[in-house]
Symmetry: C2
DNA sequence: AGACTAATTGTACGATCGTTCGTACAATTA
DNA sequence: TAATTGTACGAACGATCGTACAATTAGTCT
C-alpha cells in the first residue's frame, strides 16, 4: 500500500523545498513573513529566484508553507517530548518547560516563531492570518486540555491563559531586552500559579461561603 | 522668554506633520513599521510623497517619529489618568484597567501599538528597536515602581512581569481571535494575582520555616 | 539509444520602494 | 517693496519586489 519514493528528481526537489522552508522560518522569526522575500531567500540559499518561486507559485503560498513548517518544528520540539510521561501535572510541567527551552535555545533565531508572526498578522485578514490563528487556537486548547486533568485545577481555560501569558512574556522580554532572567521569572510565575491551583480546591472548599 | 509661535507656515507644517504621524501610528499598529510606506501614507492623506518625505528626511526617522508619537498617545491614554489618585493599590489598578481599556477601545486599530512593533523589531538591531526597547523598559519600570509601594507586595519586579504578561496576552488574544472575553480573563488574572500579593506578607510570615 | 517528465534556470515585465532634485507658492523679515 | 524662509509639489532615479514564461538540466522510463 505504501508508495515508496524512488524518483531522484522528486527527492531532490523535496530536499531543496525543505531547505527553503527551514531558512524561510528562520528569517521570518526575525524579519517577519512580509520581510521574507523570494529574492533574498534565493540569494542566501544560492539558488535562482525562479527556482524558489516555482516551489510555491505565490508569496502567500510560501508564507503558508513556512507557517506549516514552523508548526511541525514546534510540535517536534515542544509537544512531542512531553508525551513521554502520562497525562497529569508532570506532563503539563514538561510542556511548559519544553516551551521555555524552545524559546530560550533559539530554535528560531528570533525567538518563538509564532510570537513574531502572530503580532505581524493578527490585525489583517487573509489566509495567512487564519492559519496562524488556527495553530494558536490549537496550542491554547492543547495547554488547556493538558491542564484540565491535573488535580486541583478548576478553571483550565483561565489557567491556560495565564500560563501561556507567562511564556510569551518571557520570550518577548528575552528577545527585546537580551534579558536571560526573563525565563527565570516565567518559571517562577508558572511554579507559583500551579501551586496556587494545587491548593485551590482545598481553599475553595474551606472558604466557600 | 517664551517665543510665541505666530508663523503661519510652520504652524501649517506642524499640523500636517501631526496628521502624518497620527495616520502612521494607526497603520503601523496594523501593518507594522515596515509595512508603513511613504507612498501609501501620502496617498491616504492626499498629499505628495515628497511632502511626506520632507518632514522626516528618511524612513527610519519617520519610524522613530511614529514611535514617539505613539508613546505620547500611550502616556495620555494610560499613564496620566492614573495620576488622579495617590500612589498605592488604587493607582496600580487604575493603571492596569487603563491599559486594558486602551487596548480594548482600539485606541490604535491594530490593538496596542507597542505590542505590534515590539514583536516586529525585537530581533533586529537599529535605532528603531532601541527606541522601542527604551519605552518598553520605561513601562516595565513604571509598573514595577507603582506596584512596589502597594502594601503586601514583596517582589515588585516579579509582580510587574506577571501583570504585564496578562495585559499583553489579552491584547494578543483579542486581536488575533476577535475574542472579547480575553479582557475578562486578564482582569480576573490581575485580580487574583493582586489578592495573592495582598496576603503574601501574612502568608510568608506564618509559613516561613 | 530516445521519449518523457520534473526541477531548475535565465530573462523580462510592471509595480512599488526610498530617495533626490528643482521648482512653486505663501508667509515673514528687512 | 524686495529678499528670504518654510512647506509642499511633480518628476525622475536606481533598486527591489512578486510574477510570468520559455529554455535547460537531470533523472526515469520504454
Amino acid at each position: 500500500m505504501e508508495t515508496v519514493k524512488v524518483d531522484g528528481r522528486v527527492e531532490r526537489g523535496e530536499q531543496t523545498r525543505r531547505q527553503i522552508l527551514r531558512r524561510a522560518a528562520e528569517i521570518a522569526s526575525v524579519e517577519g513573513l512580509e520581510g521574507l522575500s523570494i529574492g533574498r531567500l534565493a540569494t542566501e540559499l544560492e539558488v535562482s529566484k525562479s527556482g524558489v518561486f516555482a516551489h510555491f507559485g505565490s508569496k502567500e503560498e510560501l508564507q503558508l508553507a513556512t507557517v506549516r513548517a514552523a508548526a511541525a518544528i514546534f510540535a517536534t520540539q515542544v509537544v512531542e517530548p512531553a508525551l513521554v510521561v502520562p497525562v497529569g501535572r508532570e506532563r503539563l510541567e514538561l510542556l511548559l518547560n519544553g516551551w521555555l527551552a524552545y524559546s530560550e535555545n533559539r530554535t528560531f533565531p528570533g525567538g518563538c516563531f509564532f510570537y513574531a508572526v502572530q503580532a505581524e498578522f493578527d490585525a489583517r485578514p487573509g489566509r495567512v492570518r487564519d492559519a496562524i490563528a488556527g495553530y494558536g487556537r490549537e496550542w491554547n486548547e492543547y495547554v488547556r486540555d493538558t491542564a484540565a486533568v491535573v488535580p486541583g485545577v478548576d478553571d483550565p481555560d483561565q489557567l491556560a491563559f495565564e500560563l501561556i501569558a507567562f511564556l510569551e512574556m518571557a520570550n518577548a522580554q528575552s528577545v527585546l531586552h537580551d534579558d536571560p532572567h526573563a525565563y527565570d521569572r516565567a518559571r517562577k510565575a508558572v511554579r507559583a500559579r500551579l501551586a496556587q491551583a494545587g491548593t485551590a480546591s482545598a481553599a475553595a472548599s474551606t472558604t466557600r461561603r
